[in-house]
Amino acid sequence: MTSIVKVSTARNIYEQVKWKCKAYSSMFSTVLILYILLTLLSGGGSGSLGMGRSFVSYREQYYTLDSLFIFTVLTMFIFGWLLASKSISRDNFSIVTTSYTEAISSALFLVVLCIFTLVAAISTLWISILVDILRTGDLFIFHSMEYSLLTFISFTVCSLLAASIGYFIHVVFDFSKIVFALLCVGMFLLIRQYTIELWGILFGGSAFQIIGRSTIYIILLWLLIVLMRQRREVTRT
């Protein structure tokens, strides 16, 4: 692609990310609306545990990011698909665009979106706790923030992986309907075979393994996306 104005690739990518943030602004508000709806229905709690020890019957309702995380992953998957499906109609082609810059800018936009969802999830958690306290007057116990950074990174990386998978599947759909059908069948069989062991094989057991492997999968997916986008560009030309 040619342009009479010489601008750096980094500048192009920056402009494209900025454009996408505006063009897909409804994704940000949808995340918030979804969180509000979920929090209202679940009361903000993620789970509870009960036990009996000696003379004590103990019940604890805990608030974590876990319940929001599940829905974030699902939402990010759909957003990834939507981002790819709307790229032709919504992207700003007045900015110098190649398949490479488009893929990078889409990936960076999804990074922005995932960081946004993390901040939104934390905000939602605190708001739901405040609402609960104002409503019931119960005392909360705050456990240490020792693992918070690791949780936040995992939350973001896993959301990004889900978004990347969604984006990738649509790119495959654009690339070849036969490959897409095979991919769908493969995913269906994988989900049918889903076990905790399979999860362990794919992502590992510890947080560091989950983060590391997810990052590798994300990089691989985006490399494939760039490769397949090259083909689409040739087809269009």
Partner: protein, 223 residues
């Protein structure tokens, strides 16, 4: 309809709204989103600052080091009591003391169903008097890393017809907690069944000071 199914439908509705926003009608402009986001995040920040620094509605859970200290101190107390070393019972843990007048040699301890866990430790006194002194001690109690002493009711001790009645209520602890660890991703969420620090730490002790000429008969203690 299960709550999970309801959530699933909500996600579908949410995504439909997104599709509606993105594809057809631009009723929601980026500027409005920015304002919405700014207001929402500000609410989150204010809630955090209020709860953590101003309100006092959130109590910090004790640290693992502190729980470990408590556990060691309680184990020491248990072994001291087994050896009838009652110096470990501190004045600060004494909740109440009652004195009763025994009329016969055999004193029976009668418990209600909930009172079967309260252990009795007896020190035998060289005394010609018939007075039985009952003291209730309670060290700080922690379960699952949570300070539960405020939930625990003191037992009622009554005396009638040379019988010592221990009447206790069941202790129900219901708490809410905030974690920034993740159970789902296996990050730092305590595996509480295995960790002794999350077991019951602390003791409730009924100490009887009994003249040697009496016998204590306690059939129901489960401790």
């Amino acid at each position: 309809m299960s709550i999970a199914l309801l959530y699933f439908f909500l996600v579908i509705i949410g995504v439909t709204i997104t599709g509606f926003f993105i594809t057809k009608i631009r009723i929601w402009k980026p500027k409005r989103t920015l304002v919405f986001v700014a207001v929402y995040f500000s609410c989150g920040l204010l809630a955090f600052v209020y709860l953590m620094f101003l309100s006092g509605d959130i109590a910090k859970a004790p640290s693992k080091e502190f729980l470990q200290e408590q556990r060691i101190a309680n184990e020491q107390l248990s072994s001291d009591l087994k050896l009838r070393k009652f110096e470990g019972l501190k004045e600060e843990h004494l909740k109440f003391t009652k004195t009763f007048e025994a009329t016969a040699e055999n004193i029976e301890v009668i418990r209600n169903e909930a009172g079967q866990y309260l252990p009795i430790h007896i020190s035998w006194a060289e005394s010609g008097e018939n007075k039985i002194t009952v003291s209730y001690y309670e060290t700080p109690l922690y379960l699952n890393g949570v300070y539960i002493t405020p939930f625990v009711e003191e037992p009622r001790i009554e005396w009638n017809d040379n019988k010592l009645y221990i009447i206790e209520a069941d202790t129900m602890v219901t708490v809410k907690s905030v974690h920034f660890s993740s159970q789902l991703l296996n990050i730092g969420f305590p595996s509480r069944n295995d960790d002794p620090l999350y077991n019951l730490i602390g003791q409730r002790i009924l100490h009887l000071n009994v003249p040697k000429q009496f016998n204590i008969i306690d059939k129901d203690g489960w401790y």
